[in-house]
């Protein structure tokens, strides 16, 4: 077992430095893309793209060229293809995703079968190895990551609106169709460039899990991005550290860490806590049951409006206020999250 001191010594090694930077970058792009993948409900689509990328890698190795080229070709083509089927509504997405998913696995196995001898490269693509990123791949990773981040943050408000309500985005004149394809390509590229480091089987966790953990904490999109990035980078860095210290496979250590963060977030999520907003004492708006105060209104909707009650105790909204019905007047303050 290595010690922390060994780790810092190892950081003198360019390979290790590259691994560290790769980990941070994948942590960032995965968690950024992941926010919209999660909100748009495209998780299985991403999974299918990851498998097509694996088939691409197998073909690249079979042909003896840099797998990254074939990975990108396969990933982007399948993303656009699925997007097309989705747009034309020929059939439900989950059907086409299911078909494509398994077809690419079949292709991958076919390509592996055609190889004259068993290749260790296949093993490393499947399970990933962050310590053996070639310098060319490293440079491509950095360049494409910058492109991805510029596009996602540059078009953040458009993607956000499309995610919220794509019909309204279309009517407002936002090029929804184009942006949907663009986003599919961004997912594909993110997966493709992370593939070698994290491995085809695990790569998608870098996209889903940090965003899913961030989702548990906030109702604000910017905060969700920030948290997602923090979770992604944290698990990438510490995953790499732990894998070094205890000689564990890097990809699975990183993914296990994000999953742990997700589990903790899920358990502690303020969204799941029923009493996130505590009603003030008001006989009409809240009721104490078994020693705990509960809202009488489903979403505690009335709590932040000044309101009054009539004799029967009905909640009356501000717009309905009639001076002669004045009984009690008070304003509740919101004691929940984000205030």
């Amino acid at each position: 077992m290595a010690s922390l001191a060994d780790f810092f010594v190892a950081l003198g090694n360019p390979l290790m430095q590259r691994a560290l930077i790769t980990a941070v970058i994948i942590g960032i792009i995965g968690s950024v893309i992941g926010v919209f993948v999660l909100l748009k409900g495209m998780i299985f689509l991403g999974e299918a793209i990851a498998h097509s990328a694996f088939a691409g890698a197998a073909l690249g190795i079979l042909l003896g060229i840099d797998p990254l080229i074939t990975i990108l070709i396969f990933g982007v083509t399948s993303a656009v293809g699925i997007g097309y089927v989705n747009e034309k509504k020929v059939m439900k997405d989950d059907v086409i995703i299911g078909v494509v998913f398994t077809f690419f696995m079949a292709l991958a196995i076919l390509f592996i079968g055609l190889m004259p001898s068993y290749s260790t490269d296949i093993f490393s693509i499947l399970f990933g190895n962050i310590l053996f990123i070639s310098i060319e791949n490293f440079i491509i990773l950095i360049c494409l990551s910058v492109v991805i981040l510029v596009i996602v943050f540059g078009l953040k408000k458009e993607f956000y609106l499309i995610t919220f309500n794509s019909e309204m985005a279309k009517i407002a004149g936002i090029p929804v169709k184009f942006l949907n394809y663009l986003f599919l390509i961004l997912i594909a590229v993110t997966i493709d460039i992370s593939l070698k480091a994290i491995g085809a089987i695990l790569v998608f966790a870098m996209i889903v899990t940090p965003a899913a953990a961030a989702y548990q904490w906030t109702f604000k999109i910017n905060k969700m991005f920030l948290l997602s990035i923090i979770f992604g980078v944290f698990s990438a860095l510490f995953g790499l550290l732990f894998s070094f210290l205890w000689d564990l496979p890097s990809g699975s250590t990183i993914v296990s860490l994000t999953t742990l963060i997700f589990a903790v977030s899920f358990i502690l999520s303020p969204k799941r806590r029923k009493t996130g907003i505590i009603p003030e004492e008001c006989g009409f708006c809240s009721q104490t049951i078994a020693g705990k105060t509960y809202c009488l209104d489903e979403n505690c909707t009335h709590l932040d409006i000044p309101h009054k009650h009539d004799d029967e105790g009905l909640i009356i909204y501000k717009t309905d206020l009639k001076p002669k019905k004045e009984k009690t007047i008070h304003k509740h303050t919101l004691k929940g999250e984000d205030s």
Binding site: E158, M168, A169, A172
Partner: protein, 253 residues
């Protein structure tokens, strides 16, 4: 029977905000709208009614360009939009879709949702300005929802969500609001609340309003002109016309 007042007034589309001429809309081999002629003038408050599947939603979507008609001509503010709706014209129309509750946990606050109305105008790769933000807040005040700024959208009641969607359209500086059953999911009090808001916007801010509603009593109370659809326009005229009852009896029963 076509009681459309347009029959004896073959229009020139002058001064209209929406002018449809001989519009036919089909889905596959199914006719959803047949031979629609319709003029909407600035400042009108129009109610659309008709049975389920009569093409009400399709009509609004056709006006706004979401559905392309098979034949016929659409003019918005006098501009023929058969090819593409020009930006300036598009921004004048706000559409509030049929109520669909949002995911309770979707990360968007009331403020975010209203500000979304300003996104399209700001343009790709640009941020919205403080001016846009202020405008959004002013509109929240206008619809009397400013107390909810920081509330997640999914934590509002259906009627409040509808008001926020109206606010979003107003933040986009819409002059014409097309609303698809804005009150269908609401109780009577919230229904009146939303209709009163529309009435206020129509009177005070001169917003042209076209709203689909199944409740003809409600439409009679708030609008001056009713259009009854049944693939064709079966009635288009004042709410007081006794003919209206006959038409309603005919198309609903």
């Amino acid at each position: 029977m076509n009681v459309s007042k347009l029959d004896n007034q073959q229009s020139s589309c002058d001064d209209t905000v929406v002018c449809l001429t001989d519009i036919n809309v089909v889905y596959g081999n199914y006719v959803a709208l047949y031979n629609i002629n319709l003029d909407i003038y600035k400042g009108e408050f129009i109610g659309i009614c008709g049975p389920n599947g009569s093409g009400k939603t399709t009509l609004l979507k056709t006006i706004i360009g979401l559905v392309k008609p098979l034949t016929g001509e659409i003019k918005l503010y006098g501009d023929n939009i058969s090819e593409k709706i020009p930006k300036e014209v598009r921004f004048k129309f706000g559409y509030v879709p049929q109520f669909a509750p949002y995911d309770k946990n979707f990360p968007a606050t009331v403020k975010d949702v209203v500000e979304m109305g300003t996104y399209a105008k700001a343009g790709l790769f640009k941020r919205i300005t403080d001016k846009d933000r202020n405008k959004a807040f002013e509109i929240l005040k206008l619809v009397d929802m400013e107390h909810f700024v920081e509330r997640p959208i999914g934590h509002l009641s259906g009627g409040q969500q509808q008001k926020i969607m109206i606010a979003q359209a107003l933040a986009a500086e819409a002059e014409v609001l097309l609303l698809d059953e804005p009150t269908s999911a609401l109780d009577f009090r919230m229904t009146e609340d939303v209709m009163e808001l529309l009435d206020f916007l129509n009177h005070t801010h001169k917003i042209t309003i076209v709203t689909i509603n199944h409740n003809i009593k409600l439409l009679r109370a708030f609008t001056k002109r009713i259009i009854c659809l049944n693939k064709m326009i079966s009635y288009d005229g004042p709410t007081s016309d006794p003919n209206l009852d006959d038409v309603i009896n005919k198309i609903f029963y």
